[in-house]
Symmetry: D2
Subunit: 344 residues, 4 copies
């Protein structure tokens, strides 16, 4: 199998390389770029010395046609233009950017402040939240891989909303992410001396993942709601922990909440329902494709606390993308992804 990666120099791209390197069905990985054609990849990324000593290639539709799968891991606003000519010419397309996630083009324009992708292609694209959309993913030619925050939030709250155990009318999601989520481009905020030992909040009530989460709640749990969602930057590199709060419906017990999660994910290898809160933390999933979830009912307030934890670069990006590729190609979901989290 021959796989191409467009946007290989970003952190999502680097993680695709890390996992595809050990994917038994992938024979060849080629790296594409819009701006650094010819650069020997390992001269830019020393950790790939002896592993990827080949040059970055120019993006051209003809040459891409021969690939089995093409991943795009680019900033928003790029694949809306780049991908349409590649649809249905050969390779399965898996887009890690936000360009094909929102079915409502107006919402895309509003939250991303960019022109949307063509409506026909957006319609064709399939939202790649693997555990919730497997059937559609199987036959998709273009997958819109979910955002990092939505993955952590949706996997943890969707079962409880779908089963009408919690009330999404007053769902508050307080999410926290490691700095790699901000990408590889240096800035004052991510300058080490100013990011280190600094915990901060950003994009208050304005994050573009809000409509994505709301859309998925409607799509998979059949509930229209407006959520409160905020994001924080944690002085660490990898990991997202999202804490969600919602009232439970009258009579709902802690056991019901946990059983719902266990039942939903019993046959899904990458979602782990954790009973002991001291086992929940971003380092328990670091470097892996696991999503750990936890729920607890507060009987004083009759509200549930729901926690979702992922490695933002893996289950929140490259890992889920490869999981989707496996589904598309009818391979076992764990192929190439069955690694043990680093923990330390």
């Amino acid at each position: 199998m021959k796989v191409g990666i467009i946007g290989a120099t970003g952190y999502g791209g680097l993680e695709l390389i890390r996992f595809l390197h050990n994917h038994p069905e992938v024979e060849k990985i080629e790296l594409f770029t819009s701006s650094e054609e010819g650069t020997i990849f390992s001269s830019k990324f020393g950790h790939l010395l002896t592993i990827h000593d080949t040059p970055l290639q120019k993006i051209e539709a003809e040459s891409l046609a021969g690939f089995d799968v093409v991943f795009t891991s680019t900033p928003s606003g790029v694949t809306s233009k780049l991908l349409p000519p590649l649809v249905d010419i050969g390779p399965k397309l898996i887009d890690l950017s936000g360009d094909y996630r929102l079915k409502d083009l107006g919402a895309y324009e509003k939250w991303y402040a960019k022109a949307p992708a063509p409506e026909s292609i957006v319609k064709k694209s399939v939202y790649g939240l693997t555990e919730w959309n497997e059937e559609n993913i199987k036959s998709a030619s273009l997958i819109a891989n979910p955002g990092c925050y939505p993955t952590a939030v949706l996997l943890s709250v969707l079962p409880l909303i779908k089963e009408r155990l919690i009330d999404p009318e007053y769902l508050v999601v307080d999410a926290k992410s490691g700095v790699s989520g901000a990408g590889n481009k240096p800035s004052q905020i991510t300058h080490y001396s100013e990011m280190n030992e600094n915990f901060s909040i950003y994009k208050v009530n304005k994050h573009q993942h809000i409509p994505e989460i709301e859309q998925a709640i409607a799509m998979f749990a059949d509930f229209e709601t407006t959520i409160t969602f905020n994001t924080h930057l944690v002085p660490m590199t990898r990991g997202i922990l999202a804490t969600s709060y919602a009232p439970v419906f009258p009579g709902v017990t802690n056991k019901q909440l946990n059983d719902c999660l266990l039942e939903t994910y019993k046959s899904h290898p990458f979602v782990r329902v954790v009973q002991d809160v001291s086992s929940i933390g971003t380092n328990r999933v670091k470097g892996s494709n696991y999503c750990d979830i936890f729920v607890q009912l507060d009987e004083r307030t009759n509200r549930a606390t729901i926690v979702g934890v992922i490695d933002n670069l893996v289950k929140g990006a490259a890992g889920q993308a490869i999981q989707n590729m496996n589904v598309q190609l009818d391979l076992p979901q764990k192929l190439g992804l069955d690694v043990v989290p680093l923990f330390i």
Copy 2:
């Protein structure tokens, strides 16, 4: 002025030393301990070499009587027994532990799982949230210095509750703390290799600061409510950022929310109302007694996001304790505390 510190080896104690060293009215600082009598302090804490080369002393009521102020910075369950004989025998007492904060002894027993302090002394004690209780602090003989989380939460939400701008019936507080809040005792959780690069949640819906916050909302904003409150550990040493969520009452605007905060704190030197969210972060207050607060109305949901940021060891412990001492002794609040945050 002669000042004693009981529990000097904890992080609260070390911060008291750091600030009192530069307090112009403090002539002498003596350090007391229950277990390491005779130890030269700087042999244990190298950063104090040439600064505190004196031995730790044994705690004895007689010798403490001659002090002007005695700070206690001990684990919960210690000063409930230690302080009663010292009340009204001479020194002003400022307790940084949780033993005198809750007026309801039953609540103390329930949340701390310890026997409470004598009721008469608890009654006598004054809750030291400086900006909200200045009159009572002036004449107090025993101050219950607020907890770190309650300080960050209360300073940011109290004005809005008191003015009935937000509805505390559905107040959700999602708080995050640096690791120094867990104290100086090594444990598996705070072992560097397992804490580093790990963001986690702990004591879900069970933190002993919950009744303290609820009590203060009743006391200062005249509102009985049960809140949702959760705490997270951030892989950094200092700092608390608490994000609170509540619906606003109909018609309330973003400007009203901000004006309320600005008006409340206009003459309080340590509370800063921040307009630009990119200026909010734990490193903006690091090492200082400032509390930075921020509020924003989300017009999609009619809920307010309220942020409070402090250095947990300073405004959340030693700094506020000295601020209270200044008030008790009729000194300017900023005396000895007027330092610039480190930022980097």
Copy 3:
């Protein structure tokens, strides 16, 4: 193939599990302990939930006899007693502790302050610096896996000493390690709040890896010398970078130094000779079995600066141990170890 790990709860043990999980020849991994028999492993290490939900077993010679390979990853002073009865009863033994590394029992006693292992077993054991001792490793029944620091130092300086390009009479090695090298036992030094943002030096001129390095220089480069070697703790979890300094012999050029390294390691997949110093750093090998090395002649002083970088838990422990297992079992060296470094 059936593999046992004694000391699975340490960081070396956890890394063995991480890599063996993906080793194609390993069918079964069983975990042994001296003190926590019966504990479900994943209840202690949440990252292994659904991966290792089996209980820790009691160490017993009879049951271990049936294994193909047994790794021991215990503190020093344990395997000197534990391993002798297991030698030649069945499994290949690979000891990650320091108990079998020093051929001079007196040196062991002096530097480790412990009783040495039996002389006959020490004699039998083979020092597992894979790239330099492959022939002996092939037929070894007991491998003394090298220390983390010696691995980084030896791989980088041995070729230059052996070829008499640098003068080991005045070899100064300044080594720096991430905190995971100190193990998983909490202590004041490794308490997060005191380790974070703290760079320190420890065991000045007294590290037990000194005689190991000197012995290997004599063994593989035929030179008896006493070295200067110091170790520092870096506030990060993984990684060792060792900077070595030595005068070059008259007339030696920078090119000769580099060519010597390139030539030595041209057929060794895990040692990478780096030309661009900006590509050298602990994150370039993080999570992988690579050792990156770099050399530069300072023409002002005619001294060489030699840098060796490894992940202390992988090439400095578990990774090299598995590499040695592969050699013992005549498998390709990269089997199960061919992972891409994490970089971020």
Copy 4:
């Protein structure tokens, strides 16, 4: 007293503000810039909200003439042009950049790759290593404040070289710095995700502080030598630890080495000779003007290990600059600088 700071937006400038804010003789601090005239300082640096809400001013010789002291904290190559017209027109000048440190203009050109300052002004300038040049500093009109690395290295090795206890002919200095030493300008190297958990070496044998150290050894210890000096980046914000290695002259004892340091610095408040190596570490001096030093003779090799530790932004920049100002103005050295290190 009226003090101006040129280059206030850099980390050295921010630290000047932090300390001068509490300097009892400083009445007014004004901030100057070449590029952001008019910007309200606290809108750029949130930690200074309510502390420095004044605008940045344009640099003009006339207006600067009225100041008592002007600090310049700019990149190299700026003050070589900026300062000459300001010399002797009024304010004491203290330059934190490297432009006036090297008396040999050719060396400046070679190591800095920039045109040097005018020879007459360089001659006039006084090297501000306070503890070693106090007499000249008193009467200086322009002070060349030492580099961060040279401060840590020189304070620790100069006494031993001057007393001919160690042999500087083979002095190897292995220095490590926190990331703030790289300044406030974002770059790929200092991008959080790539700097975090990464220990690296840089500018191998090429650091511009090499000639500064050699010049000072000649100047203060009367010994011409070429040293080996390398620098490493530690994933932390503040602190330098420099480990130096040199043979001792025959017969020199560990006690002599320590006595020499103790005797040299007995009346210097900011240099602390540490006996217990476990008390040495960058967090022991964090945020303060202390320099902690340690020496130990290795009797196996007859070489000394010498350690110097500072906060690079304080004793290595702003703190030493203010200490020099105090000396110039005949104030006590500790004025405004007598703060307790943060430790945690």
